[in-house]
């Protein structure tokens, strides 16, 4: 495989990662959202290995292995252990906006990401950065949108993780020489996010009887009449 082929395959991965992000926005079933997250993480790993091959960087090979271990193996496993299976069967019938409108927002965010990263990549010659930076930013923004538009707890958590995937997708291109201990810290942090938020979701499910985050609405500022 030549490095040009690796770059072309990396661009393919980028496109598929974007599609996976859209799919997470469009899927109603909780289980489906988790599956698309795993697919996106696999694509992220593939891109990581391709860049590692192109730049012959042992550091990125290690990072790829770390990504698989954390995001494809550990996170789904922890989620399964922490949360009862019934939470995964749920479907979100009503979201904050309907799904076609939600996809339109995601599309607009993608265009915005392209525009924002334009001035940054204009002076860069490395083709990998030119692909990964805008798509990574789009991934972060779409993940944030999924977090806002979703009402169930698990898809909201997956929204955070999808944002993280987006940041990482740009990161493997622009910060590939990051010290491994920092990468380890970041990967460990992601797993901890899943453990802590998963535990909290379980407490909420046990105590309140729903994992629909939109129903948590008791705390708000009431206006006080002037005396």
């Amino acid at each position: 495989m030549t490095s040009a082929t690796a770059e072309a395959l990396n661009t393919l991965c980028a496109g598929l990662i974007l599609i996976a992000a859209f799919a997470m926005v469009a899927t109603r079933q909780v289980q489906g959202v988790v599956r698309f997250f795993i697919v996106q993480s696999l694509l992220l790993t593939a891109s990581c290995f391709l860049i590692a091959y192109g730049r012959s960087s042992p550091h990125l090979w290690a990072l790829g292995v770390l990504t698989v271990a954390a995001k494809v193996v550990a996170i789904p496993w922890v989620l399964r252990k922490l949360l009862p299976g019934e939470y995964y069967e749920r479907r979100e019938i009503s979201q904050v906006v309907n799904i076609p409108a939600s996809l339109l927002v995601a599309l607009l965010l993608t265009i915005a990401a392209e525009f924002v990263s334009g001035p940054l990549v204009s002076t860069v010659t490395d083709p990998v950065i030119r692909v990964n930076l805008p798509i990574g930013l789009a991934g972060v923004l779409i993940g944030a949108w999924a977090l806002i538009a979703r009402r169930e707890a698990i898809p909201q958590l997956i929204g955070i993780l999808a944002m993280e995937n987006g940041a990482f997708f740009a990161g493997i291109a622009i910060a590939s020489e990051l010290p491994l201990i920092a990468e380890l810290g970041v990967a460990g942090g992601v797993i901890l996010i899943v453990i802590v938020v998963g535990l909290l979701t379980r407490h909420i499910g046990e105590r309140i009887g729903t994992t629909e985050a939109a129903r948590l609405n008791e705390l708000k500022e009431e206006s006080m009449s002037w005396r």
């Binding site: 001035p119 930013l137 972060v140 944030a144 987006g166 920092a182 970041v186 996010i193 909290l200």
Partner: protein
Amino acid sequence: MALILIVLLPLLAALLCWIPAFRRAAWVLTMGAAWIVFALSLVVWRGVLENGHFVGLPRWIETDGLGALILTIVSLVTALASIFAGGYMRRTLHEPERLWWYYCNTNLFSFALLVVPAVADPNLTWVGVELITLFAILLVGFERSRTALEAAWKYAVLTMMGAPISLFGFFTLFWAYHSVSGGAPETWQAVQAAAPKMDPNLLKISFLLIFVGFGSKTGFAPVHTWLPDAHSQAPSPVCAILSGVKTTVPLYVILRVLSVILASPMARIGSWMVVLGLISVAIAAFLLLQVRDYKRMFAYSTVEHMGIILTAAGLASGAGDFGAVSQMMNHAVTKSFCFLVAGTVLLVLSTREIGSVRGLLRVSPFAGSALLLCSLAIAGAPPFPIFLSEFSIISAGIRGGQYTAVAILATLIVVAFVAIFRHVNRMAFGEPIMPIEPKALPTSCWVAVLGAAIPVLVLGLYIPAPVNSLLQLAARQLGGH
């Protein structure tokens, strides 16, 4: 060595609290670790004053004046809160078998808070701030009531959303640094030194991303909404740490990055900071007027103070930096005192509603006078430390010719002052309307409140020479010199 121990001791304490044989001694272990860490932070303080920086493990664990200042206030506040927790948690927790878990979790929380100022690598700083956020989530929801879990969830979603955004910012910072550094390891010092050579566009984007990402953790408006919810629901000793230092630590990182930006020639970002800071102060000041829960009241006052610090840092003059760092210190000691007092009032009266408290001074002279004292201090009345730092910020602004900003800031501070006093007057004076018998206070609670009052009373009247030199050093490092 001291710096490494500071990071390791809370971890060790957390581990011991987790081991069943030690669970009964969890409180004592937590207090012991917290006070040893405080003593060690004074050692770091002395070292920093001698050499300008302090090295634990070269390249990884290093700190400077600004870091030492944050270390000291974090360790002081966690140490005081650990004393308070003893009586408070025993009294309020319905399931005593979960007590060990509270101490285990607070130790992890203080570990994360101490890691951030102690590490030299910016990316590890990000990891530290993430850990702070994570370990706080279960503490906010610790009481596991419906509302506590709701507060924890809202806090989790809003602050975690900032995590990937700021991670992107740190990647960009690394990229900007790495393309000019020639392979030298990335530390805060090296980044600051290399700043003039770095691509200004990249720096600007990375600051923006880090600011947005950590802004929600600091509690800047409009992403401050988790703050009042979390503070009304979390156990009071946790509130003292959350409000006193948990908000200050991400702000410390933002200011660190800001100092890198200011060291590069395109430093026209100061006026933006002033505007954003003033927006936070304004929103907090007006929400303070209509708040109904006294713990929420102190929470909004935190939003106000974070805004003031940001404004001060944005005024972009040496004197503004001094105001910003001393405001950080004064806010931490005063606000943690406020929440310990709020916890005391809650223990005495078992209500958080301002409307159902009246004549507290007669019901419980100790809680009532402490409430008056802490409210005066946090609202910025002389002769308390907040007054001094706010005064130095305002005079720095006037000297810098920023009259509009200073006028708005001063007006809003007055609005907040009036708002806090409208509520506290009602609570402290008048005829008691509370039907319930006031409950006696646990010894550990009044010891902690008295201890927390000492720096609040002393620092307003007299700033000891080492404190002053550390503040000066921190301000210089913040200004990029």
